[in-house]
Amino acid sequence: MTTEHNTHFGFKTVAESEKAKKVADVFHSVASKYDLMNDVMSAGMHRGWKRFAVSVSGVDRGDKVLDIAGGSGDLSKLFAQKVGAEGQVILTDINASMLGVGRDRMLDAGLNVPALQCDAERLPFPDNYFDCVIVAFGLRNMTHKDRALAEMQRVLKVGGRLLVLEFSKVWQPLSKAYDVYSFKLLPLMGKLLAKDAESYQYLAESIRMHPDQETLKQMMIDAGLSKVDYYNLSAGVVALHKGYKT
């Protein structure tokens, strides 16, 4: 007899096997309006956070970059411009609806970025292949974050960098206002703009359940990365973690 482990899905507790399906349902539902909602929810700041992630990545022409949970392809587009024709950027996402949006955008922009549907906990790439792996606003939706981080470390070359851009623990004096925004205003905006309050309720809850800055730093160290450091962006609403494979 096997025992089923539980995990969190927002503030709810669900069986591990159910989480991926539930997350998939959320993103199938929001895919078409994902970027619009991101712009509204973050007042356009998510673009600045992503640009900052690219600027501290140290990615140069000719580098190989893996964009995990890349969804609508914002980061892949920025990295494709950095690595040039001699480099390689691969856009991946576990969710076909989100990946479809990203793939179409890359094609429309005339960028040669292959889009691949895959699970971050089982990456279909060889060891020591990429110069940079990035996961932006995707790690908190993964069922086994430790396994996913270990996989990202595996596919990095020695000297390669893993960047994790994710919502994090906000500066304490702002936490009350942030709670009101997340649990009252966010679902309301989801209802009005995307006609989907529940999905945005999940987004707010999943942000709260995600590890804080120091915990995620330790998780990256445990996954075999070194010199792990992080940047608090917008008073800790978002944190960018960077670690090296040595």
Partner: protein, 202 residues
């Protein structure tokens, strides 16, 4: 927001100075803390030879400390002041970064040309350089004029030759005093070894 903006400005400057990246690239992933008057910040060298502000938990590999007293001397391009900058940790790394930071130049004409076009940008640049040169010359003239006034008309400042003459006189006086001290010692020794004529036994 400040981190994002600062990193963007630093990277923009380095992109304009293409010689800098190959100098920094061998030190990729290392960081240096800069302590300069009230400013205390750490810069990390990226794998492409660019720079970014370091994160919240960064442990620097080297540090450069510039005391406030050196500020004016450095601005006046006093080469001896550079020797008094304190460097700790990986000195090769700190020296390479200091060299890059001190030689980076902002090509403002290039930035301006994107807004106004090449010709206007060059004209504005030329005007700025001429204005800066005129301001500099005027400042030097004013300083020389005040210096002359305080030396000749209302002597608050000492003239160089007077200071040198005073220094020479102090040196001569010190030498004379030393000579006299030696003579006195010699005389005291002589007196202590000569028998007292009033007390021949002692």
């Amino acid at each position: 927001m400040l981190k994002q903006l600062s990193t963007h400005i630093i990277q923009h400057l380095l992109a304009q100075n293409e010689w800098a990246a190959p100098m920094l690239q061998p030190f990729a992933s290392k960081s240096v803390q800069l302590n300069f008057v009230l400013l205390k910040t750490s810069l990390i060298i990226l794998e492409n030879g660019s720079l970014a502000l370091a994160g919240e938990t960064n442990v620097p590999d080297a540090s450069i400390t510039i005391p406030p007293s050196l500020l004016l001397r450095l601005m006046a391009k006093d080469e001896t002041a550079k020797l008094q900058i304190k460097v700790d940790g990986d000195t090769h790394l700190a020296t390479a970064l200091a060299k890059v930071l001190s030689h980076v130049r902002w090509d403002y004409e290039d930035d301006l040309s994107k807004l106004t076009g090449d010709v206007s940008a060059h004209k504005i640049g030329e005007f700025s350089r001429n204005t800066a040169s005129t301001v500099k010359d005027t400042a030097i003239n004013l300083a020389e004029m005040l210096s002359e006034y305080w030396q000749e008309e209302k002597p608050l400042l000492a003239k160089k030759r007077h200071v040198e003459q005073f220094n020479t006189e102090v040196d001569t006086l010190r030498a004379d005093v030393e000579r006299m001290e030696k003579r006195l010692n010699k005389l005291a020794n002589k007196l202590s070894t000569t028998p007292d004529p009033n007390n021949p036994v002692s």
